[in-house]
């Protein structure tokens, strides 16, 4: 039910993002989804890739600080109030969203939202109980 995400520390200087994508490209790793969080001094690049097990050592070898995080991918019905329903369900259980980012599924046409929760397992249970569609890691990696 959980999806593995790779986070990479990026110092605020030119060419770092280009370097990461080059390293991944050379290793034949495909990026499925990404988000970049930034502050004035540094950024954190969050990636979901097709081959997490390979991406991690490749990036470390290239000198990057990398960590793995478990996130949850939720399919959001493509109509007004779709995301709101999910967030309300979480709010009722007092589950916090640390961060989230969205991408659009290539085949189904639904949006997929990647969530990082403070209580991942509780969030999954809550969403499942409300019949929201949670995507498996394997499905996401092979989209």
């Amino acid at each position: 039910m959980k999806v593995e995400q790779i986070s990479i520390f990026i110092e605020n200087k030119s060419g770092r993002l280009a370097e990461i994508t080059r390293v991944l490209g050379d290793a034949g790793i495909n990026i499925r989804a990404l988000s970049l969080a930034d502050t004035s001094d540094f950024g954190i690049l969050r990636l979901i890739v097709n081959d997490c097990a390979k991406a991690n050592p490749v990036l470390k070898e290239a000198g990057f600080t990398v960590s793995k995080t478990e996130v949850v991918a939720v399919e959001v019905p493509d109509h007004p109030g779709g995301l709101s329903a999910i967030l309300q369900a979480l709010d009722r259980e007092a589950i916090n969203v640390e961060y989230m980012y969205a991408f659009v599924e290539r085949c189904g046409g639904n949006a997929v939202i990647i969530f990082r929760f403070d209580e991942t397992d509780k969030a999954i249970a809550t969403l499942k109980a409300q019949n929201f569609s949670i995507l498996d890691g394997s499905r996401l990696y092979n989209l």
Binding site: I10, F42, T65, V66
Partner: protein, 433 residues
């Protein structure tokens, strides 16, 4: 103008005779009262009686900041605590400060030397002295304060900070003499300009600046912007505090060191050998009247040179040139002494921080800035911005709490900071001093 004409203009032979007498009695006293000096003299096979001429001072061992640290807090005091009336401290190299104690007599001497310094700088009774040195453990504030009172001037004990209020008071109270760090004076000038206050309309006549290194170019800038005569003052808490040496307004060429209380020497910091007059090296000072904590051949780590040439002001006391640097890695940031090793000790104490760091010192406008670059290790890297930012804040707060200096912590990618190969470069100082 003199404060104590007799002693300030004492002919050299009389001055040197006085130095020898005072040195000998100081040596007897420390040998009898300070176990540290008894031990180091004994270890070197020396008795105080070997000093029969001033040149014999060279035979004595040095005292270092490390010795003061090892004797923390009161180990080097030569007077019983019942006679100590004041304690000051400056930052040490591992978070423990260097502690000094003053007897009533020491405070009186310090007040006189500071009063002499005020007069040498062109101040007099009737002046309104705006004392913006910090009051507290730091010797700057109280040292200048007591000297101003001894002189008989009116002292405004405003201390540092709250620049708008400083400017208002300078305007309204009619301050005629300003005492603070040179960089703070320029910051005041900027603030005044922003407030629409014209320094040329203020009554300030003299500025006495010290506690951090500055240059002739900076003097020109300060004199122009603040419309006053800028005088360089030198001091360090280990020896006394401000007023160890001062420029005279007549010459503004070198700082007279009050030789009836201190014996200066210049040494090669590598070999410890004494250097001839005029050569640049490390300043070593022996106190010859202090009672609380007399120091024999204290290595100041400040680089300067010494001249005995007569001065047009009439003072017979030797002059040291403007400090040009340090023989150790101490940084002076906004008047605060900072050793890279202190920052290292703080960083190592924060879980997950690697001991790889770089200090970048710069001067933005007129104020010094310190940036501490810290590598983000795998161990402390978090996927969440707020965790990393909290880490930066923690580094900044611990450094502020321990060292009293404000800095910006900047997280950088691992292995981007030079690794230690013997002596790693830990400091980039971009200030043009």
């Amino acid at each position: 103008m003199f404060f104590n004409e007799e002693f300030e203009t004492l002919p050299r032979p009389a001055l040197e005779a006085l130095q020898l007498k005072r040195l000998q009695s100081t040596l007897e006293r420390v040998y009898a009262n300070v176990p540290f000096y008894k031990a180091t003299f004994d270890a070197a096979g020396i008795k105080p009686s070997i000093v029969t001429r001033l040149e014999d001072l060279q035979k004595l061992p040095f005292t270092t900041k490390q010795d003061m640290r090892d004797s923390y807090p009161y180990g080097l005091f030569a007077a019983p605590m019942e006679e100590i009336v004041r304690i000051h401290a400056s930052s040490g190299t591992t978070g423990k400060p260097t502690v000094v104690g003053y007897t009533q007599n020491d405070i009186s001497t310090w007040s006189e030397l500071m009063a002499r310094s005020f007069v040498a700088a062109g101040a007099h009774k009737g002046d309104i002295i705006h004392n913006a040195y910090g009051y507290g453990l730091f010797t700057g504030g109280l040292g200048a304060h007591y000297g101003a009172e001894r002189l008989g001037a009116s002292v405004i004990p405003i201390s540092g900070g709250n620049t708008k209020r400083q400017i208002m008071i300078m305007q309204d109270f009619g301050s005629t003499v300003l005492t603070c760090t040179p960089s703070y004076s320029l910051f005041m000038a900027e603030e005044a300009q922003a407030e629409g206050v014209d320094f040329k309309k203020l009554k300030l006549r003299v500025g006495i600046f010290g506690a951090e290194p500055w240059s002739e170019a900076m003097r020109g800038e300060i004199e122009e912007k603040l419309n006053l005569s800028a005088i360089d003052i030198y001091g360090l808490s280990e020896i006394m505090g401000p007023g160890v040496a001062i420029e005279c307004i007549e010459a503004k060429r070198g700082l007279h060191i009050w030789e009836d209380h201190f014996i200066p020497e210049i040494i090669n910091p590598e070999t410890g050998e004494r250097l001839p007059e005029g050569e640049r090296g490390e300043l070593v000072i022996t106190t010859i009247t202090k009672q609380g904590i007399p120091l024999i051949r204290y290595r100041t780590r400040d680089i300067t040179s010494l001249t005995y040439e007569p001065c047009i002001c009439g003072r017979t006391h030797a002059r040291i040139t403007r400090m040009s640097g340090r023989s150790d890695d101490m940084l002076i940031i906004r008047g605060v002494n900072v050793f890279p090793s202190q920052i290292e000790a703080i960083l190592v104490g924060i879980e997950g921080i690697e001991p790889h760091y770089m200090l970048i010192v710069d001067r933005v406008g007129t104020l010094d800035t310190l940036t501490v670059q810290v590598e983000v290790s795998e161990q402390l890297f978090s996927d969440e911005i707020k965790v990393l930012q909290a880490l930066s804040r923690r580094v900044e707060k611990e450094i502020k709490d321990m060292l009293g200096v404000t800095c910006t912590a900047k997280l950088v990618e691992p292995k981007t900071i030079q690794r230690s190969e013997g002596k790693a470069k830990r400091v980039i100082d971009n200030r043009k001093l």
